[in-house]
Subunit: 193 residues, 4 copies
């Protein structure tokens, strides 16, 4: 496996707007990965970071702000599950990568996701799409109690009320259907109006 | 509504073995409650307290130990939902009542329970029964991170591994089918073998 | 227990706009029920009737049309769980009562509801309210494959697309927050846009 | 893409004991697939076929019987999700492949699985393992109402009661942890004792 620094990393498939960096040793080479991406569904996780009050009621949703090809975009914490990695460990890793080491996430006890988002390369089959690949993403609401610092590929990380996150203005800033995923998450926690 | 201190309290219906104390003012009188209990299903919550590791994996289940009519019994945190009370507030209240004020529970963000346990006055209809009433109980797994002190009506509160909690010996110490509920909880978090 | 034909029946608490008729013998008397309704949360079920295609995808949502105090209203299949009645039997009974004997519902295998709707007598605590009572309603999506005939207290029963059912016009015709419940159901089946 | 008939087919990864046949044109070549299987988690579905009564209660679980390397084995309906294939279409396809064209499955309305089974190449990380690959399998309970005919790679298809399916004897006939998955399914539908 020979990789140049210009090649995208499988670990950094967290979002279409994330600049690519070389992969960790031992994982799929870029050539192999490119082949796989064009022929196999890829396992993903989506985390909806939330703040809750003492009774577990969601009071805020955390959204990343990124500079994409077509302007500023909002996104969830999202990324690939690696070979030999448990889903819960993938959630920990992607939250730490996107929100920093002291976000203190409360990873769900059950592997049962609130939904499964199927991102197809072609839009219209489901509410989700991703022109790079077919991703099958297990989606979880994850309370975080610590301090969140967006990683360097994001411009900002903001806490919005459930109502703001579901508003037309914010919804328009998502790509690939992640706005619908936020609305599904808010429906599941009982905060969709 | 006239109540004497000897009358059982609707708030303390947490478990058959809990000694009864006078109710809070403003709630159902004992006479009315006795009528209701014989003619209406009663809304309950069951909480399965757990310890988790940093990736959300359940490493221990918390069980109360009580002295019942027929010897020592194991039980979950369980109790009635009051009029005008949200489910999540009932969870907070019963956990504080049974595990003390510094248990620091992480109440689930979603009202979707992992199961609904239907306790019938007659055994055999479902795995659950309660000879006092027909209770419909919404069951949740609740991670607690703080210090747990059993309330005075319990002899002890112990952390068991999922395997121990599902073992025959411990299962035999539950009444009313709560052992089955523990197994369902462990199945849901992926820890049933 | 003495009942006059003018007294409302506990069995017919399916919807605020349903005319009341005498209860079945053996259930709660009206006086007792009135007391209970003012002091205890009442166990309910809400069913969202749907048509699906062969792959389980929801293609239509079934909504009742009723004449209420303030004009035409849309509603789900909804009603009380009786003493000694299983949740799944209450679903069967209310679907048969509202949609007729040949609706052929596919009752869910699991008691896990997609959400729990807490209807409070006072609006604003949750998205749901019911000025008659505090109802805790277990909500299920129920595919029906047969012919649906609205019962005589409903004017009509119509199949709408998920998009129509979530549209502003239709949403405005619901009372008590059942429009939000339809949106939650559509979010859960992956049909909320 | 050149394939010889001796090469295993990606479509037939339904079970370790299934004899391999050439893949459909257009999918991943065997070489590419072998690489992918050794470096990426593969998306799977597991279906637990059940018979229900009119109220949705599970009365029987359907299990395949196969001749494996180490004797007779029991298995669920299980298989890979293909590129560009929706989860619900993969469920339809694998059920038709394993149970025949007139099984008449009721595919779930929601993509929310009852659990996610993570099959690792190494045993002990989760209750599931598969020495061929790392599979992330979305697990669903699927009522089937029609006639089930096991495909030619299976010896038989039998309906067992939930109690039989969870009994020690039957559990010992599963490989890779699918027995635990059956128990989780029965716990989720309320039929685990």
């Amino acid at each position: 496996m020979t990789l140049t620094p210009d090649f995208p990393s499988p670990d950094d498939w967290s979002h279409p707007d994330v600049p690519m960096t070389p992969p960790q040793a031992g994982w799929l080479s870029q050539t192999d990965l490119t082949i796989a991406r064009s022929q196999l569904p890829i396992v993903y996780v989506d985390a909806v970071p939330v703040r809750t009050d003492d009774s577990g009621d969601v009071i805020a949703v955390g959204l990343l702000l990124r500079m994409g090809d077509h302007g500023l975009t909002r996104s969830l914490v999202s990324g690939r599950v690696l070979y030999h990695e448990r889903i819960r460990d993938a959630l920990v890793r992607h939250i730490e990568k996107d929100l920093g080491p002291v976000a203190l996430p409360q990873i769900p006890t059950s592997p049962q996701p609130f939904t499964v988002a199927e991102y197809f390369p072609m839009p219209g089959i489901t509410p989700y799409h991703d022109n790079r690949q077919h991703a099958v993403s297990l989606a979880y609401v994850v309370p975080v109690t610590g301090d969140c610092q967006p990683s360097q590929d994001a411009l900002n990380f903001d806490w919005l009320t459930p109502e703001e996150a579901c508003s037309e203005g914010v919804q328009a800033a998502f790509v690939g259907g992640q706005g619908a995923l936020v609305k599904q998450a808010m429906a599941w926690v009982g905060r969709l109006l």
